[in-house]
Symmetry: C2
Subunit: 166 residues, 2 copies
DNA sequence: CAAGATTGATCTGTCAATCTTC
DNA sequence: GAAGATTGACAGATCAATCTTG
């Protein structure tokens, strides 16, 4: 990908680098663009329509699915792919907006439960149609059902590699 | 995706929302995970090996490809999918590290050229093998060549929709 | 005045350190 | 002491406002 002149052919360390072919490079650059622009497009829609970031929306959405609209902070962090620290800051902000409430687990004081409030649920209900419509128009409806199937499989495989590497 | 109870079937506004099916939802969630975790995995490798963020690496890489390792700020912004503002802050930092230099275009004072320095080029040369190796191991080598072809086409199609929507 | 670029204020995320509960 | 969670300081991104050149 970068232009490295003559050094490209030089072996450094133990084994020579297998550079990307032209086609691999092109595919990789397209994928990077999707990874950057797609979240951005969704952020814009959510911010405009509901004053929510992508991850904030998903926090509300995951809570709405939990029993009694409640999840432990650590569970919520995993479900939203956020660090516990990030989630803690984020939930504090949502709490100050009245969308979420926190309470210590009565059965075990080490856990904190995040609870979706009525206002939070209402905001989610109001913003979900617009968000889902956008996900459809930008992603789902642009792919055939066999492409979706393949995207599913490919994503799963990549995730396996990514998770294994960390 | 969120659990909306009875409201799910209620028509709000003009037309009913077409919710995602179970399979669409599953695929979408996997894709979101990839969009979050893949950049993170690459950031970690670059940060550890070269003290560069993903976008900083790409700034250096795009500059290395320009004639005389030079690009206008506005071109560089497009190539790296960054806003001009973000790029300006970022290049200022790279400049203070001696990896890039900025100079006003002598033929038209409105343009600023970013130039890759010797030190910047050396850092790129040193870090490229590790980065490419990681891109291969996490993405390229995990997919068959027909999958890569399909990923290429699908990404292109999605990008078209995303760009058209903004 | 339009386009390229920069700036400063503000907000968000990260990292390391800390606190609490079992 | 280990796991869950929070905190504060710092780094980086965004947005709106501004500056500059042609």
């Amino acid at each position: 990908m970068p232009r490295l002149n003559a050094k490209r052919s030089r072996t450094r360390g133990v084994s020579a680098t297998r550079w990307l072919t032209g086609e691999e490079e092109a595919t990789w650059r397209l994928l990077v663009q999707v990874m950057v622009k797609l979240p951005w497009a969704l952020e814009c829609q959510l911010q405009r329509d509901a004053s929510l970031s992508f991850i904030e929306y998903h926090v509300l959405a995951r809570l709405s699915e939990g029993r009694v609209r409640t999840l432990r902070m650590s569970e919520l962090a995993m479900l939203t792919n956020a660090s516990l620290s990030r989630l803690s800051h984020l939930v504090k902000r949502l709490e100050s907006r009245g969308l979420v409430r926190r309470e210590v687990d009565p059965t075990d004081g080490r856990f904190t439960n995040a609870v979706l409030t009525k206002a939070g649920h209402e905001l989610l209900v109001d913003s979900a149609p617009g968000h889902v419509t956008r996900v459809r128009s930008l992603v789902i409806d642009g792919l055939s059902s066999s492409e979706l199937q393949q995207l599913h499989d490919a994503s799963k495989r990549l995730l396996g590699r990514i998770d294994a590497s960390s």
